[in-house]
Symmetry: C2
Subunit: 198 residues, 2 copies
């Protein structure tokens, strides 16, 4: 009760953001207090605007403001290549790298029995349907390399191995610019196992 | 352009918060997308509500929703004791510690010639006026121990030394629970110099 009520209320709401505790929320609130009225209004309306406008692409389940996202509706993308990611942000990361010109399929989660998330809770059925349509020739599985991401990748391989598509997994190894001595042992082992001829 | 426009707009606005870069703003935006409509509205309205309601106490310059804040208007506080802090958040930190029952005076900044902030830009004149009123018997200077905080403390001492008030400075030293070997040398030197009999 040391701050006015409206400040406490904002702190409480900001503390719902991921990784934001009471101290950080307090810092953000103090900063917002110093915002101009216009800046504060812009922030508030950006929140509501995004909630109102953003929906999920009917085809790949990426974030979109239209029924079909700008990647799915882009005729210059290679529609025989499909990259499977966990979240929209993973897709954005790959797009930023400029290394992929195919289409995406966002699972919107990973298999996680401990959290009660099974194959029916993520977009695996929709993935199989897209492959069943017959246009896709290669599926790049780009789920993360966590235990759950790997389990999800294995499950997908199991589900789609009967289709005549090439199934690939995004490579694991030493990050570029990374110092060998600081890389963890599991990554190093993986990098050694999947070494390739030069 | 990999996210929809409304998402990019929110990311841009969130990145104005202190210590929040593009990556963190992106993470916050993805989290807000998963908020319920109600939660998103609560966050947006909390921002606007705070901006609209919060003003500055006429007497101590703390944040308040009323003309005079709940501390200045509390008759059970010791109104002969005045604690000078840089920012409202510093006042809140002292209040949370429960170690002070007097009134506050928020400078709303520190002297910082390099940033063009002189005595007239912070509430020093108002502080002198409060002391000139004659009720105050002790002024506790609780500006931070940065170079600017110390310079501000020295300047205040200079300004008010002609008044018949006791002037004190909040103590510096080893944080409680702190390990001596990890404490920086300037703090350690200060703690040694200001050692007291037990």
């Amino acid at each position: 009760m040391h701050y006015p009520l409206s400040v406490l209320n904002l702190i409480k709401n900001l503390a719902k953001l991921p990784g934001v505790g009471e101290k950080t929320a307090e810092r953000y609130a103090m900063h917002i207090l110093r915002f101009s009225q216009k800046e504060a209004e812009q922030l508030a309306s950006a929140i509501l605007d995004m909630k109102q406008k953003v929906r999920i692409c009917n085809s790949c389940f990426a974030l979109s403001e239209t029924e079909v996202c700008h990647i799915c509706s882009n005729p210059s993308r290679n529609n025989t290549l499909l990259c499977v990611t966990e979240q929209p942000a993973d897709m954005v990361a790959i797009e930023k790298s400029g290394s992929f010109n195919g289409l995406y399929h966002i699972l919107a989660g990973v298999l996680s029995p401990i959290n009660g998330i099974g194959p029916d809770n993520i977009k695996i059925r929709e993935l199989i349907k897209r492959i069943d349509d017959g246009k896709i020739t290669e599926v790049v599985i780009a789920t993360s390399t966590s235990i759950e991401g790997e389990a999800t990748a294995s499950y997908i391989v199991q589900c789609i191995s009967k289709y005549p598509v090439k199934i690939t997994r995004i490579a694991s190894g030493i990050p570029i610019g990374g110092d060998l001595k600081y890389v963890d042992q599991v990554t190093l082992k993986k990098a050694m196992e999947t070494r390739h001829a030069i």
